[in-house]
């Protein structure tokens, strides 16, 4: 974890909320303008929707790239911005944004990282990725105490009766990892089909065959317990009576969904949960805060990667004036400017 706090914040030129394709490309456009960036994302890796929702699916409408997958686009963007040494803060939710007495922006994450910069770029896309909550009545009363959607410390589950729900990679990986730690572990999935790495499925099946864990093909219908502490879950197997299963902890892995989240509290003008911007600069209603990519709205907006890239270039031009108020903005081509080529580390004989 980062060693800093409100007394000792990390200072930089620009804070980017969201490391999706548009946040990543913003690093490039800002970098050409001598603006250094730190990025915050709740995901544990860059790429936003491209990495989380469709890494293996093809994209056909990136100019001059006839076809690439979501994962490939992310990889190429990282390569392109590498000369500017962006700093990433992954696995953290940007939670609050306030102005300091010196007129800078201070952003604090849910893990206590504090960043300060003269400008902030909201590239939060469809919102932050949060776990899907299963539709079980009263589940919220158990969340954070005995029901979890992620694992931060495995020790927490030592000698517990654990139920893991879901049929994807996260559910299987955690079933395999927690099985030796748990008192007893049951994997619950609606169908006897798993959307996960074939190796994990084999491993899980062999643990079941050895009697080291249970697999139930069932729906989870009810949670029983008190004061946030589970005592049992009720399973409904096809064609059978619902039956209880003793359980201390439920871990549910049903994938992620996008929610606007804390960005709604940043004090920006919103329209239908999107941030309104000036189309010449992509600045929001608050000076020094910009919004680009899927998160913004303006007349004619199209939620395309292409649009986000264009928005990043115009944003960077205005952003420059905040970070370098003493300098004049200069329009240059990367093809012909030795200054830009130097920044990119590609200078031949100037």
């Amino acid at each position: 974890m980062t060693e800093n706090n409100a007394q000792n914040p990390i200072t930089t030129d620009a804070i980017i909320v969201g490391a999706g394709p548009v946040g990543l490309f913003a690093v490039f456009e800002l970098g050409l303008n001598d603006v250094k960036c730190h990025l915050v994302d709740i995901l544990d890796r860059p790429g936003g929707q491209c990495a989380e929702l469709y890494p293996e699916k093809p994209i056909y409408d990136i100019p001059a790239v006839p076809i690439c997958t979501g994962a490939e686009l992310t990889e190429k963007l990282l390569e392109q911005i590498n000369p500017f040494h962006p700093v990433f803060h992954f696995g953290q939710m940007a939670e609050s944004l306030v102005k300091t007495p010196e007129g800078k922006w201070r952003l604090t994450t849910d893990r206590g990282t504090v960043l300060e910069a003269p400008i902030v770029i909201i590239a939060a896309g469809g919102g932050s990725f949060v776990p899907k909550r299963p539709p079980i009545k009263g589940i919220d009363a158990f969340e954070g105490k005995s029901v979890f959607y992620s694992v931060r410390k495995m020790e927490q589950f030592r000698d517990k009766k654990i139920v893991i729900a879901g049929g994807g990679d996260s559910a299987l990986d955690w079933a395999i990892n927690l099985q030796p730690v748990a008192n007893h572990l049951t994997l619950v999935h609606r169908r006897d089909e798993f959307r996960a790495a074939p190796d994990s499925v084999l491993k899980m099946r062999s643990l079941v065959a050895e009697g080291l864990m249970d697999l139930k093909i069932a729906n989870l219908t009810t949670l029983n317990g008190a004061d946030g502490h589970l005592t049992e879950v009720v399973l409904q197997e096809d064609g059978k009576q619902p039956h209880p299963l003793a359980c201390d902890n439920l871990l549910a892995f049903y994938g992620l969904t996008m929610k606007l989240g804390p960005v709604a509290e940043f004090g920006l003008n919103l329209h239908e949960n999107l941030v309104t911007v000036d189309v010449a600069t992509f600045e929001t209603s608050v000076p020094g805060i910009f919004a680009i990519g899927d998160i913004n709205t303006y007349p004619g907006k199209m939620k395309l990667i292409l649009s986000g890239f264009h928005e990043a270039a115009l944003m960077a031009k205005k952003a420059f004036t905040y970070v370098h108020p003493d300098r004049r903005y200069r329009f240059q081509y990367t093809t012909s400017s030795s200054d830009l080529q130097h920044k990119l580390g590609v200078t031949e004989a100037a």
Binding site: G166, G167, E193, R195
Partner: protein, 104 residues
């Protein structure tokens, strides 16, 4: 041509349908809120609907991607489909579907 879409409150809406559009797009165009987070790319399952049993046989079977995605969705039953994967054609005029809880 039309489809009948029952919303989460149980209210029926008659929506104008266009051939070659997905049922998700028809619902959205008709002004009925549907999350459809991935825009019809068969990647999110937030366009989950129940197809009226009488219409089920007229719709081509789901492909492997759709089945896999429905596997991980909530409140799935034997009539569950992803609306973005049902492409409307004239044989589906009058199609009846109901929005599932995860689609809002």
């Amino acid at each position: 041509m039309r489809i009948i879409c029952t919303d989460m409150e149980g209210k029926d809406h008659e929506l104008l349908a266009t051939e070659e559009w997905s049922v998700m797009e028809i619902i959205r165009e008709g002004g009925i809120p549907i999350l459809a987070q991935c825009g019809g790319s068969c990647a999110c399952a937030t366009c989950h609907v129940y197809v009226d049993p009488e219409w089920k046989g007229k719709i081509p079977e789901p492909n492997e991607d759709e089945i896999g995605l429905l596997n991980g969705a909530f409140d799935v039953n034997e009539n569950s489909r992803l609306a973005c994967q049902i492409i409307f054609n004239k044989n589906l005029d009058g199609l009846k579907i109901k929005l599932a809880p995860g689609s809002l």
